[in-house]
Symmetry: C2
């Protein structure tokens, strides 16, 4: 399986996803500023993946600081932390990774600079490995819902490229295949930015998973023909009542699933669940530049100059359309999701199986 982000021989190895699928360019980086640039320029994207990258960037910054004085070391590390947070200010995973690094340093203020450097180098890899573990768990719970021979449709990219590995929506597919089931995938191309065509199709081909690319508007006809057994999508934010915000088009797929009695699953690490919002109507939906629609890949103009465009980046799928939500703690009914916020909840009682 492809690794979008890794720590190799004391450097950050990052796959430049902006060039996919035309060119596969791995960049080995020894300067935190280049890591920040890579995050900013979307060489790497996906909430978990950029969190990992930012933490590994801090390790690079730490290596380059020449002092044995802990206070000086901490002070000199601060600009790197600020740079990482500044790359994508709304990315919650970068903030979370930076907070984790700050806490690590505070709770180890008695250590030497060299010890702190070693801990920071370890921390980036720890965050990577934890992410892979979370995704494997999502995959394990989700795999129970897939049968040998199933064809799974997915939308956008919630795959290995968006994470440390396995992906979220793709994890149940990879785990099912590891279990010996034959699973194939249909990838929606996912206009306007085409993450399905550029990323999901590519990474599944790399991983040897049978994948077929379709235009977004083919899903309904294929469901009607019985080509699709299940849908699994990722989520940008899922809220307490089980409403799911994800890439534009996810809601249409969910409606089509309802019409064809096809299960619609959402793979959601607990970190993507926002228990503070009661329902999906409260999720702000970003409208993005019309040029994403009128210029494909930023160069091929496909629409008249000056045409009016609505380009909503995300939509909200109400919980009623969601068959189950796969998390690292189990598979749950969307209506039971709020109970996960309560640490006293007996998960065994609310976990569901097919």
């Amino acid at each position: 399986m492809v690794r979008a982000i890794d720590w190799v021989n004391g450097k950050v190895r990052m796959l430049d996803q902006t060039r996919l699928p035309l060119e596969v360019r791995f960049v080995d980086i020894d300067d935190y500023k280049v890591v920040a640039e890579g995050i900013k320029k979307l060489w790497i994207r996906g909430a978990p993946a950029i969190g990992i990258a930012s933490a590994m960037g801090i390790a690079l910054a730490a290596i380059d600081i020449n002092t044995s004085d802990v206070e000086t070391f901490k002070k000199e590390l601060e600009p790197a932390i600020d740079t990482m947070i500044g790359t994508r200010p709304t990315a919650i995973n970068i903030r979370w990774a930076m907070d984790r690094i700050k806490m690590l340093m505070e709770s180890n203020s008695d250590r030497s600079v060299n010890e702190l450097k070693a801990m920071l180098i370890e921390e980036g890899q720890k965050i990577l490995n934890e992410d892979i573990e979370i995704n494997r768990s999502i995959g394990k719970w989700g795999a129970d819902f897939l049968k040998d021979g199933d064809t799974v449709l997915t939308h956008c990219n919630a795959g290995a490229l968006a994470t440390g590995g396995y992906g979220t929506a793709t994890a149940p597919i990879h785990v099912s295949i590891e279990q010996g089931k034959r699973i194939s995938v249909i990838a929606d191309e996912t206009r306007p930015v085409l993450q399905g065509a550029r990323l999901t199709a590519w990474e599944l081909m790399q991983a040897g998973v049978p994948v077929t690319l379709i235009t977004d508007n083919s899903a309904g006809a294929l469901m009607k023909k019985g080509y699709i057994d299940a849908v699994i999508v990722g989520t940008d934010r899922t809220v307490a009542n089980g409403d799911v915000a994800n890439k534009i088009g996810t809601y249409s797929v969910a409606v089509l699933c309802k019409e064809h009695s096809i299960p619609f699953y959402v793979a959601a690490p607990i970190s993507s669940i926002d228990f503070s919002l009661d329902n999906g109507e409260l999720i702000p939906i970003e409208e993005r530049d019309s040029s994403e629609v009128t210029l494909v890949s930023g160069e091929c103009r496909i629409a008249p100059e000056g045409v009016n465009v609505i380009n909503m980046a995300f939509d909200v799928t109400p919980a009623e359309y969601v068959t189950a939500i796969f998390t690292e703690k189990g598979a749950f009914r969307p209506s039971d999701l709020a109970k996960l916020a309560d640490e006293g909840t007996d998960l065994e009682k609310i976990r569901i199986s097919p």
Copy 2:
């Protein structure tokens, strides 16, 4: 309103639609072989429009024949007719136009060559004007179903560019606007070939109709937000039970309409209704080359080399999803469509109104 095909000063004026929306190139043609080339190279597309073009091409061929002997004239016209039929062998409207021309010549075999030439020149323009009349009638019946302030979503291009004028799916919109109603349009971009982005958005902007372009996968989210009051689409073939074959993605839009209680209308000239087929399952669905999906506009690669693709050009929307079918003879329930084949049917009794 833009004219895709016209007869101007003894020449065929054709809009080269392959260059839209980047370039607006009208070509004045005085050689039938160039008309045939234009049909073949898709400068002009849409069943009615290519029928008109082929008939006008025959008029050009007739003008160029130097003889006063009627038999020689007929004989020399034959290669032109064969050339037209050969441009797009499955295009029923070209065959129909050529049959009409042959019959015209047979039933006027007592006329002089000059008279026949004049009749052929007239015939092309007659076919054009009849098509506009049919579309205006479709528009008149369909306009009854649109209210002042409505926003209509359409898919693909069944507009003026595909016809002699007015279009089929767009005719109720144009007629409504002529009646003083304020109507705006949302155009699905219609992957893979993007007829909505390239053609529908362009021609409606030219006609001064307010139009907003969206990616195909935005329709569901916009319906949920209440942005869409009605859907009108064209059809490549509608069959006796009211099942509708049209551009891929039409079926998904119909399912979304059902879920949101939005009326789903089909504009179908009687010539597009195939009374010989009982239901839509019998309509052969063309699978087209994967490069339409993987290369946008034939040049921008958006998917990995060698990826597997399903590229169905059309889908079938079952009659149960269709609120009404607008024809030049009235608006009908899909379940009453078969009755149109019977000349004894009292149309008044089966016409519907909103």
